[in-house]
Amino acid sequence: LKYIARRLGFYLLAGWSALTLNFFLPRLMPGDPASALFGRFRGQLSPEALDALHETFGLTDSGLVGQYFTYLGHALKGEFGISIAYFPTPVFDVIGKGLIWTIYLAGTALAISFVLGSLLGVAAAWWRRGWVDNWLPPVFIFLGAFPYFWLAMLALYFFGFTLGWFPLGHAYGDDLTPSFSFVFLSDIVRHSALPIGTVVIVTLGGWLLTMRNTMIAVLGSNYFGLALGKGLSPTRVVFRYAARNALLPSITGFGMALGFVLGGSLLTEIVFSYPGQGYLLVQAVQNQDYPLMQGIFLVITLAVLCANFLVDLVYLWLDPRTRDSEE
């Protein structure tokens, strides 16, 4: 329990750091941030919009400390101001619409690649120097060297444009209205197959190699030999005894990989004009929509922190040693 409390404290601190960073970034801009930022929009935006902008950044007449607390209060209530690109929709609503797609895309891709990669890693370690072990690691190391979004472009060109097997973009067809019908859900799967596929291909190799290397060490351990010697079935021994222990380093890496996979899936979204956070982020960059940009940054960071905390809980469950150790 002490462990949980400490991790929770750490993530709260990390979340607060992100919030604070977010507050100071506009103020670190070279020159006078307010005039530099608003000068660009003068004439383009109505006075109300400018007021909304001021409000977002807490650029009120009170001192820096006052501004900071006003900002924190707003952020905790989920008020990130008004989006410029989607004026006059509040940033919170714009992000909310895209969030579900990003979670679906990145979550599914991460799950598939983790499970598949780890299983292949087990296979590679078990049949060492067999064809899985000889061929898959180098192939996936090579594939992993490609930029995500470039593989996405290639997949889109090849499977979408040339062969026409998959749609060229968006989350679902224009002629469909969102519902829980079979037609609609299968359309979503069809639209997401290519983006998910590219993320899986790029990230699979990492899980495979981690799992393979730790599995090899575990396969040489005494308790593994004992379990086999007792006459337990090999499948049971491999999965219940060896894989469970070999999974620990992968789980540790999971938290770290999360931010990385998310970054990659954001770029992939852009290539497929998938209506998630990545696509919004580009819209924000192109329109210099700072409130939206910062809102997305905060939401993604908070999501990653929550997921990391969940990973810690899973680790706690998998590795009893963390339960009573002080470290």
Partner: protein, 312 residues
């Protein structure tokens, strides 16, 4: 105080690694080719931004890799982009490790409260997702290579700091460091003369790894339009390919060559790292010795599960 191997003999040892290990040889070969391209090939092209032909022409004898959506020569842009992208990549890779080493070694060496604070800082940086942070920072700064470098260093140093802290912590407990402390040597001298030399291979591996990161992240950010889109780099080439909707017209030649170059450089660097790892990691070296031994005895090592043998 015993003399450590001089840096000269270490360079020789690395050269030996590259010569002997197949992976390292492949990696080094790819890298050398790209560096040569980056240094010399741009001289053969006058202005990569010059409009030389009809837009979106497929590869031909006049333009070996075709033309872009604006009628520029793809090959010229690729070659000039190689120079800029590699230069930024290597510089950032080096800087990232430098910052990481400074923080990590300080934390590991001094321990106590210094360590607690610094560890907290890099752990926080590790959990904050890098790409969104990079985008937000880059959007606020004026575009250009300097901004790009700064952003990449800010989002990339933490991992190196963490690894180097752990390594320093382990070295700090060793006898020769304790002896140096008792001998009254200054902290600076102990770190630079006693601890750093034990980590050279790790540092090299980190510089290579960070360069891979720097090139990938740089291309990603520029692809988003956060670089200086008027300069020619790999990232901006891909940005224009996407923006001119080259993909939807089927103009594969505008983005395929650039992506292949990014991947090849990344692959080469990774291979080089694996090669070094195999030569400098005692466990992997043992495995190799053991395999040779088995082969000598006439036993196939193929089905043999390697185990770390501490007693060998």
């Amino acid at each position: 105080m015993s003399r450590r191997p001089t840096s000269r003999s270490e360079i020789l040892a690395w050269w030996e690694t590259v010569r002997r290990d197949r992976k390292a040889r492949v990696g080094a070969g790819i890298l050398v080719i790209f560096v040569l391209i980056g240094v010399f090939a741009p001289m053969a092209f006058e202005d990569p931004n010059a409009l030389v032909g009809i837009p979106l022409q497929p590869p031909s004898s006049a333009h070996w890799l075709g033309t872009t959506g604006q009628g520029q020569d793809v090959l010229a842009q690729l070659v000039v982009g190689t120079r800029v992208s590699l230069a930024i990549g290597f510089a950032v890779g080096l800087l990232v490790v430098l910052v990481g080493a400074l923080v990590g070694i300080t934390a590991g060496y001094f321990g106590g409260r210094v360590d607690a604070v610094l560890s907290l800082v890099f752990n926080v940086f590790l959990v904050i997702p890098g790409l969104p942070l990079a985008i937000v920072i880059a959007a606020y700064l004026p575009t250009g290579p300097f901004t790009l470098g700064t952003v990449l260093v800010i989002t990339g140093w933490a991992w190196n700091a963490r690894v180097l802290r752990a390594q320093t912590l382990a070295q700090r407990k060793r006898d020769f460091v304790a002896a140096a402390v008792v001998a009254g040597e200054s902290n600076f001298r102990i770190v630079t003369r006693e601890i750093l030399p034990t980590m050279t291979s790790l540092l090299v591996a980190q510089i290579i790894g960070s360069t891979v990161y720097a090139i990938g992240a740089q291309v990603g950010l520029e692809f988003l339009g956060l670089g200086d889109i008027s300069t020619v780099t790999w990232g901006t080439n891909l940005y224009w390919a996407q923006n001119d909707a080259a993909l939807l017209i089927g103009a594969w030649w505008t983005f395929v060559p650039t992506g292949l170059c990014v991947a090849l450089v990344g692959f080469g660097l990774t291979m080089l790292n694996f090669g070094f790892d195999e030569m400098t990691n005692p466990k992997l070296q043992q495995e190799r010795v053991w395999r040779r031994y088995l082969i000598k005895l006439g036993i196939s090592p193929a089905r043999y599960t390697p185990v770390a043998r501490d007693h060998v």
